[in-house]
């Protein structure tokens, strides 16, 4: 019940934020130098054509009418037509979304899989070689720009060793899975995995390093709490003391920071996509900006804003799950 009420409340707040995002995105067009019609109309367009185009797109209406129109259209998932592709911007965006989601999820999995055990081991073997190794790794990891890391991975693993492909996606996870289930062929999953491995390591390394650091420091702090001694005194096996009791409480600060770092994940995805020519939202938005494809720019920004809000609600719910003392005022 606590969770349901909280989710309702957070969703309401989220909708407010999304509305703010939409407004800001809408206004972005008006602070940009140059008239919108200049980007839409062909260079040799006659004044009449320009006039007609402007009327078609509603560019002559007062700004508040344009704003109202924009919101009404958005509510019907109509983001306008992409100037670049000539298709509805929403179609273009949602076609690219799975690639970005796959990348972000894969990177998160990579990060959680490596960082939490590494952080726990580091904290429990303090001042031993493995601790120094983990601390050094996390320092370098949070200090390395991920696009450069991606390029180095391409250089070493792709170019020099020739082990893995270094660009593009070829097949999505969904189709690859269908191939496996309906035709029993593993080639799809294999190709998918080969292509996503380097990008997800590139995107995941910063988070692996960050969470390792947070886990280590958090564990060290928690291990000094007196409940740990009590738990040991009642004869609980050490693995349970560490993974059930201590780690559970360490998750609270980790989740707080992760919530604040979600923007980094999305921003990192944009640049990782650019390094690996990954056909996701990131490469889409860069193309759209370079060609002033307004509907596409606005649509992508709104989708990213909504994604960010959703992720944050999930993070807050997780936070609440791990920390029963929170009531969220």
């Amino acid at each position: 019940m606590r969770l349901t009420r909280f989710l309702l409340r957070r969703t309401a707040q989220g909708i407010l934020v999304v509305w703010g995002v939409i407004t800001l995105v809408f206004l972005l067009r008006f602070i940009t130098p140059g008239s919108t019609i200049d980007f839409v109309a062909p260079l040799d367009a006659s004044p009449e054509l320009r006039q007609r185009l402007a009327e078609d797109l509603g560019l002559n209406k007062p700004i508040y009418v344009q704003y109202a129109d924009y919101i009404v259209n958005l509510l019907q998932l109509d983001m306008g037509n992409s100037l670049l592709k000539g298709r509805p911007a929403s179609d273009v965006i949602f076609a690219r979304l799975p690639a970005t989601l796959e990348l972000a999820i894969a990177a998160t999995i990579v990060a959680i899989l490596f960082s939490i055990p590494l952080g726990v081991i580091s904290a429990t073997r303090r001042h031993q070689p493995v601790d120094y190794g983990a601390t050094g790794f996390s320092l370098i990891g949070i200090s390395t720009p991920n696009f450069w890391l991606g390029i180095m991975l391409i250089l070493i693993v792709g170019v020099n060793l020739g082990w893995l492909p270094t660009s593009r996606r070829i097949i999505g996870f969904g189709p690859a899975l269908e191939l496996l289930i309906f035709e029993g062929r593993t080639i799809g999953i294999q190709v998918w995995f080969e292509h996503i491995l380097l990008p997800s390591i590139t995107l995941g390394t910063y988070f692996t390093a960050l969470i390792t650091r947070l886990t280590r420091n958090g564990m060290l702090e928690e291990l000094g709490q007196s409940y740990v001694e009590v738990t040991r005194a009642k004869g609980l096996p050490e693995t349970l003391v560490k993974y059930k009791h201590v780690l559970r409480n360490t998750m609270i600060p980790i989740i707080t920071v992760l919530g604040l770092q979600m923007g980094t994940l999305i921003g990192g995805a944009v640049i990782t996509e650019s390094v690996f020519n990954w056909p996701g939202l990131g490469t889409l938005i860069i193309d759209a900006i370079n060609s002033r494809d307004w509907p596409l720019i606005q649509g992508s920004l709104i989708v990213i804003g909504v994604g960010f809000v959703v992720i944050n609600i999930v993070v807050d719910a997780l936070y609440m799950y791990f920390n029963p003392q929170v009531t969220f005022e």
Binding site: Q225, Y227, V230, A233, K234, L236, Y243, H245, Q325
Partner: protein, 396 residues
């Protein structure tokens, strides 16, 4: 006599190796605790009482280490079970708790002996329900008794491991390994007088008051039906009225189950109310021990005399130690030297006190003894040390 002894500590030393130097928190401590009694250890803060308690259940963490001694625990079945694998740990019916490996020792925690800690608020994990934490202790006990007293059962965790926890975490009613253990947790909460235990069992520590948490901790400690309960300042953090309630519960439970209690406190009132026998601790040593009557009515060691002399009414719940002039020694090895540690505060310090005193029987019986030259010798003013003796010879 040794038939009744359940815990025999000899020559126990626990040291902490810090950057400031070596700290001798417990120094060659010896004591015997009889089955079914309440034994009290009383001393000022910094005298090493809590470290003694933690040494008994081997919960000393780096930079601390138990450097010498034996802690013999009487349990015939256990002795039988470990005799083959660890013959050096077994002496008749006694098993040296410091000579068995960690996993065997761990299986004894909660079942053979358990512990109540000082500050209930910080002694529970804030993110798990109280019930779940008590149920854990129940599960631990079940593991040990499922195959009673065999080394195999004690070393291989079958009922409650990380795997079963992981399984329980994804199943509904997460946290409890079984509904039995939850029922048992409710029962235990009821036993220590928590109202509405069915509802309280699912609440989190922050929803409990301090006194209720301390009762819950007693319940948790009792989950494994321990033979020996170590209570380290069980009432210090509580209000005076609640202190009395918790002590009553402990006393009742002790009479009911016949368990042995080792009660550690700085509160003389608590000792007087609860204990059969008592040991007075100073600078890591037991300086006087005997029955409650012997020690409180006829104190022999000048330190004990000082402690008691400053308490007008022993039965007052707030009867705290009003120690003698001067400070508790730092316990830093470098500053301790080889003399009676109390000599610099002792009004009757003599030249003999510059050597470390042995334990002398007081009143001619070994049941009451003091680590003081005067216990067995008359005081001679001619040999008294000048009052400023230690100020001159000791570094500041």
């Amino acid at each position: 006599m040794s038939d009744d002894v359940i815990l025999r500590v000899s020559d126990l030393s626990t040291r902490f190796f810090t950057t400031d130097g070596q700290i001798n928190a417990v120094e060659s401590l010896s004591l015997e605790i009889e089955e079914g009694e309440v034994f009290g250890i009383v001393g000022e803060s910094g005298s090493g009482k809590s470290v003694t308690a933690r040494s008994l259940i081997r919960l000393i963490e780096s930079p601390g280490r138990i450097t010498s001694g034996t802690i013999d625990y009487r349990d015939e079945e256990l002795a039988e079970a470990v005799r083959e694998d660890y013959p050096e740990a077994v002496d008749g019916a006694f098993v040296d708790l410091l000579a068995i490996p960690e996993d065997v020792h761990r299986s004894l925690r909660g079942t053979a002996f358990s512990m109540i800690f000082q500050d209930p608020e910080s002694s529970f994990n804030p993110s798990l329900t109280v019930g779940e934490q008590i149920a854990e202790a129940v599960e631990v006990q079940r593991r040990a008794s499922s195959n009673p007293r065999s080394t195999r059962a004690r070393t291989r965790s079958s009922a409650y491991s990380l795997r079963s926890y992981a399984a329980a975490a994804v199943l509904p009613g997460r946290g409890y390994v079984s509904s039995d253990s939850k029922d048992r947790a409710i029962e235990l909460l009821q036993q220590v007088g928590i109202p509405d235990p069915e509802q309280r069992v699912d609440e989190y520590p922050h929803e409990y008051s301090g006194g209720m948490l301390q009762r819950a901790m007693v319940a948790q400690a009792l989950a494994g039906e321990p033979d020996v309960l170590v209570a380290d300042e069980p009432t210090t953090a509580l209000d005076v009225t609640i202190q009395a309630q918790v002590l009553d519960i402990l006393r009742d439970l002790q009479e009911e189950t016949g368990m042995t209690i080792l009660l550690i406190t700085h509160n003389l009132g608590v000792i007087a109310r609860m204990c059969d026998r008592v040991g007075v601790m100073y600078a890591g040593e037991i300086v006087e021990r005997g029955s409650l009557g012997d020690v409180f009515d006829r104190p022999t060691h000048p330190y004990t005399q000082g402690l008691l002399g400053s308490i007008p009414d022993l039965d007052a719940a707030g009867g705290r130690l009003q120690p003698i002039g001067g400070n508790v020694p730092s316990l830093l090895d470098a500053e301790m030297g080889d003399r009676c540690y109390f000599a610099d505060r002792c009004p009757k310090a003599m030249e003999e006190c510059l050597e470390k005193p042995a334990e002398y029987p007081a009143e001619g019986t070994d049941d009451h003894a003091a680590r003081c030259y005067l216990a067995d010798h008359p005081y001679e003013a001619s040999q008294a040390l000048p009052e400023d003796y230690f100020e001159e010879s000791e570094p500041p």
